[in-house]
């Protein structure tokens, strides 16, 4: 594609197709669906962080008023190990099944042990209290150090570390090790005029979507099942649920509701298999909705991480060597995002000599789920904090220091492949010139800079474009609209077909109606599903050209598509007035049938996304309280299809990152019980905590997409952790290396300063 492309509708800011439904309360979310005769389900959860289940007695519960079915782990098949593919990022079907409902052992406080379906939720809850579970409590492993200690209690007695040079000889809580490296590390450090060596730590945090998980399941006597649920990927719910229940994929229809936030946390299943199993047993539809407390105790979270970093710099600020040892908490089952973390940790920079080791570690906490750029925020919090400290010590402007090391097109990423066109330099230059950066700081305020990076993925997508008889357009796709993607799809279809945006409607369809598509995640929808929509629109154009050519008794190569109509090519001698989409749609029935365009693909050419964030923060020297005074997010979007929703991604990611940096964390009791499982004490940012979040969209087109799109959804959460920490460190006059930067922690640091 060429940068000179002039767009008709792409880059404008129309109202999203689903907008009115969502501002009037008409939109139907996960908990808003019901079926005749529907039962209400509830889950019995483990009161222990780690225990053996000796026995479960359900008779009393089954006999309780209104109760129609009870299920335990014994009602589910044993699932064979096998990698889960497609956007979820790590994980194994057997572990997934074990997380959905415990068998033999509970691995975290809140782990599902049994589920009940009754005529009312009150009856279901009452019945839970009648289920007798005999536990043999085991010591809980709640930190990376405890998990990796000699003779640590084993969370999975059969777990052998993978990725070791020599096969592991004994089980441990270390699920896997990943290593990368290049060059001569010690020679690199020997060259260094300055070495920064520190340990950086980030806490367990939750995605914090406002809509709790919810679903309605209905199982038929013919073993055909239906699931209505809020998810980032109906097809993934279908494959995971089918696997957990041991059913053929084709017997399960998944209807995605509108989704009230996900951020990666709704790319797996929790309630869905339980609801269907309860429906199968009771012969009735079953609705299950989590409470907020259940969401905190049993879903998400994002991995806590400890990163030991060592970076060497020459006097003029070139990175001479870098080493990182990264341990991520996987939760109770293997599969933290430490893999992507190891690839991200030094990704923004040219480094000849480096060594990276990543460790996936089991602890007695909920199984980590994907959270926006999984693994990257923890990794770049470490690197960007060290870069900031180096800039300070070398007396080099922090943006200049990054420019001296920044990767650009043609450089090999530390994880191997060469970068195509990327926007890191453009973002850094924009930041240096930004009024936020050039204006003087207020008294006491610290200013922080940080770089963010995420790969962005492609994966599989399908789309259909239907041309209605009056020339209006219906786009059918399979990706739940989590942040305005219907608008981007409509814009790309309208641009390609040359029709008005308003004439395009976009339908997010169920698994029996739409072609297969992987999750709404990995920043892939506007890129990959958008590509499918463009391809399907081109399919329509080809059909239009061929029909017009026949109509004009000429060859297809004698005609061309221009401004939403078929024209004879310039100089082609045919008596013909151009035929618009409307003209051809009106006569479609008489020209071989309806105009229906299709595309299904596994998108190639995803373009990496870089960002730069600026943060001004003020520390109250007496209380340690931090106030974010100004924040600017600059990011390369490739091409912003709907700029307002791109800005929205930058702003939302920035604020989630600010929360991660300042106050969000799981607080655990010594027994492994989360003590702040609610929005009152798990402190996500509220409106009054924040300034406006300034944004600047950089557009370095991605050649891998017909309109130059890169994903934008994930990169925004990567840089804020270090941007905030660097600003706080500057304001406090002491280097902060452990998140969150809560008042007690900052005050403690001020004391030591």
């Amino acid at each position: 594609m060429s940068e000179a492309m002039d767009f008709k509708v792409i880059g404008t800011r129309p109202i999203r197709p689903d907008g009115v439904d969502k501002v009037t309360g008409r939109a139907s979310f996960g908990a808003d669906f019901s079926l005749p005769g529907m039962l209400e389900g509830a889950v019995l959860r483990s009161p222990h962080a780690h225990a053996r289940i000796k026995s479960i007695k359900t008779d009393a519960a089954l006999a309780a008023p209104g109760v129609k079915a009870v299920v335990t782990g014994a009602d589910f098949p044993q699932v064979a190990a096998g990698a889960i593919e497609g956007g979820e990022g790590g994980g194994d079907f057997a572990d997934l099944a074990g997380n959905v409902i415990a068998r033999g052992k509970v691995r975290y406080h809140g782990h599902a042990v049994a589920a009940v379906a009754a005529q009312s939720r009150a009856q279901a809850l009452a019945a839970l209290a009648l289920i007798e579970v005999e536990y043999e409590p085991l010591p809980a492993v709640l930190s990376l150090d405890a998990a990796l200690a000699e003779s640590a209690p084993l969370i999975d007695e059969g777990l052998m570390t993978s990725g070791l040079p020599e096969p592991a000889t004994a089980p441990s809580n270390l699920a896997s090790v990943i290593e990368m490296g290049n060059g001569d590390l010690e020679a690199g450090f020997a060259e260094a005029a300055l070495i920064i060596e520190r340990r950086y730590q980030t806490p367990t945090v939750h995605q914090g979507y406002i809509e709790p998980h919810a679903c309605v399941g209905r199982w038929g006597q013919d073993d055909q099942a239906m699931l209505w649920c809020c998810t980032q990927g109906a097809f993934d719910v279908r494959s995971m649920t089918a696997k957990v229940l041991g059913q053929p994929v084709g017997s399960l229809k998944v209807i995605p509701s509108e989704i009230g936030g996900g951020f990666g946390g709704k790319t797996t299943v929790y309630l869905e298999p339980l609801a269907l199993q309860l429906s199968k047993k009771s012969g009735r539809p079953v609705r299950m909705v989590m409470t907020r407390e259940e969401v905190f105790r049993a879903t998400g979270p994002a991995s806590a991480a400890t990163i030991d970093l060592r970076m060497g710099f020459s006097q003029d600020g070139k990175i001479t060597a870098a080493e990182a040892t990264m341990a991520y908490e996987a939760g109770a089952f293997p599969g933290s995002p430490v893999g992507p973390g190891t690839m991200c940790v030094f990704a923004p920079y040219r480094i000849a000599n480096f060594r990276i080791k990543g460790m996936d570690v089991l602890v007695n906490k909920p199984k980590a789920a994907a959270y926006r750029a999984p693994g990257a925020p923890q990794a770049l919090f470490a690197t960007e904090s060290a870069m900031d400290e180096a800039a300070e010590k070398l007396g080099i402007d922090p943006i200049e220091l990054r420019l001296r090391n920044a990767v650009e097109e043609g450089d090999s990423a530390i994880y191997g492949p060469k970068f195509g066109p990327i926007g890191l330099r453009a973002c850094l230059e924009a930041a240096a010139a930004h009024p936020h950066y050039t204006k003087a700081k207020d008294a006491g305020v610290g200013r922080g800079v940080a770089v963010g990076f995420w790969f962005n993925v492609g994966l599989q997508s399908s789309a259909e474009v239907h041309i209605n008889e009056d020339g209006t357009v219906t786009v059918i796709e399979g990706n739940p609209d989590i942040g305005g993607s219907r608008a981007s799809m409509a814009l790309m279809a309208a641009e390609t077909l040359g029709v008005p945006y308003e004439s395009v409607r976009v339908v997010v369809a169920d698994t029996e109606t739409a072609g297969f598509s992987n999750v709404t995640g990995g920043s892939r929808v506007t890129f990959a599903t958008g590509m499918a929509v463009v391809e399907a629109s081109k399919d329509i154009i080809a059909q239009c050209c061929s029909r017009a050519a026949s109509l004009w008794s000429t060859d297809e190569d004698m005609v061309e598509w221009r401004d939403g109509a078929v024209h004879p090519r310039p100089g082609v001698n045919v008596e013909a007035t151009p035929l618009s989409l409307k003209d051809l749609a009106g006569q479609a029935g008489r020209m071989g049938g309806p105009l229906l365009g299709k595309a299904s693909l596994n998108a190639r050419g995803a373009g990496p996304g870089f960002s730069v964030n600026l943060c001004d923060a003020l520390v109250d020297q007496e209380t340690g309280q931090v106030q974010v005074k100004a924040f600017t997010a600059i990011q390369d979007a490739g091409k912003a299809i709907h700029p307002s929703y791109v800005e929205g991604q930058l702003q939302g990611g920035a604020v989630q990152g600010i929360g991660w940096a300042l106050n969000e964390e799981y607080v655990y009791s010594p027994e492994g019980v989360m003590e702040n499982a609610g929005f009152l004490d798990y402190r996500i940012p509220v409106a009054s905590d924040l300034p406006m979040i300034d944004t600047q969209i950089i557009e370095v087109p991605n050649p891998g997409h017909p309109y130059g799109v890169r994903g934008v959804g994930e990169t925004p959460i990567v840089a804020p952790l270090a941007a905030v920490a660097n600003a706080v460190s500057a304001s406090a006059g002491v280097r902060m290396t452990e998140l969150p930067l809560s008042p007690p922690r900052v005050l403690e640091a001020l004391d030591q300063a």
Binding site: N663, L680, R683, V686, P743, P744
Partner: protein, 295 residues
């Protein structure tokens, strides 16, 4: 929520009668005003009453009046209404601010000062402000009425001085005279939607020479219940609020504080923040003595 019966008597007599009957029948009765604490506690199974008595339809609990000398705030008057009442905003800006810190705008539409007080959370935002301002609790008893100073009304974590069959009816305080000002500040990690890690209320009155004649300092979230830190007040009387006086008041408050360590902050952190807030709150109240406060 565990099952219960719901009744909403519409007069003082009906309320008194229903309470007596419930007491006789040994029904576990729970009075409901705004319900913003109560419903959460019932949902979480911390309270399981057999009878809910909604007092919002009893006129006396909705009173919001000034009779020359004193201000009366009915026990079920919602926070939003109380903080907007002109006299509260003008003569009790500290209390108004404390009320404004109760939960969200939505919570303030329902939550009452009476409920906040009866819930007796150590961190309840209005309680230190009520104590500092010398509010007394008017209590409906089987026989009639009795009154208690607010500092005596709260007796422990979630505990109050109401005997079985008694109900908090209203809160009453003298309208402050000239050269008087109050203030309340709390410390929380977030700006809103948070529970006080420490809360400090103050009411100061100056003599015509500008010397502090009386000072009431109340502390929240640093002991099982909010309390009047008499020594802290005493450290200010006779001074003009000079830095040394503020330091002395802060030191006295920190000495009186008996905080615990929990998920919201360690004991040491709380004690330290308590000292910081006392200085800030006294300075603010002092300023109001001269610039505003009582009309």
């Amino acid at each position: 929520m565990q099952g219960f019966a719901y009744e909403a008597p519409s007069s003082l007599d009906a309320l008194r009668a229903r309470l007596a009957a419930a007491q006789g029948a040994g029904e576990l009765t729970q009075v409901l005003a705004g319900g913003t604490d109560l419903l959460v506690q019932m949902k979480q199974g911390q309270r399981a009453p057999g009878l809910i008595l909604d007092i919002k339809r009893v006129g006396e609990t909705q009173a919001l009046t000034v009779d020359g000398e004193s201000l009366t705030i009915g026990a079920s008057v919602p926070a939003a209404k109380a903080k907007a009442f002109p006299l509260v905003a003008e003569a009790f800006p500290g209390l108004a601010h404390a009320i404004d810190l109760i939960g969200s705008s939505q919570i303030q539409g329902r939550a009452s000062l009476g409920g906040n007080l009866c819930n007796a959370s150590p961190a309840g935002d209005t309680i230190p402000a009520l104590i500092a301002n010398g509010f007394e609790a008017q209590i409906l008893t089987a026989g009639g009425l009795r009154t208690l100073p607010v500092e005596a009304f709260v007796t422990g974590v979630g505990k109050n001085a109401l005997a079985s069959g008694e109900v908090l009816l209203a809160l009453k305080a003298p309208v402050p005279g000239p050269r008087s000002g109050d203030a309340y500040q709390r410390f929380t990690p977030r700006t809103e939607m948070d529970i006080a890690v420490v809360g400090v209320g103050a009411r100061l009155t100056l003599d015509d020479a500008g010397v502090i004649a009386s000072a009431r300092i109340a502390l929240g979230a640093v002991a099982p219940q909010a309390f009047l830190a008499e020594a802290a007040g005493a450290a200010l009387v006779g001074t003009r609020g000079e830095p040394e006086a503020l330091e002395a008041a802060a030191a006295a408050a920190m000495a009186a504080a008996k905080p615990i360590s929990d998920k919201r902050g360690s004991a040491d952190f709380r004690r330290r923040i308590c000292g910081v807030l006392v200085k800030r709150v006294v300075a603010q109240a002092l300023e109001r003595c001269t610039t505003g406060g009582a009309k």
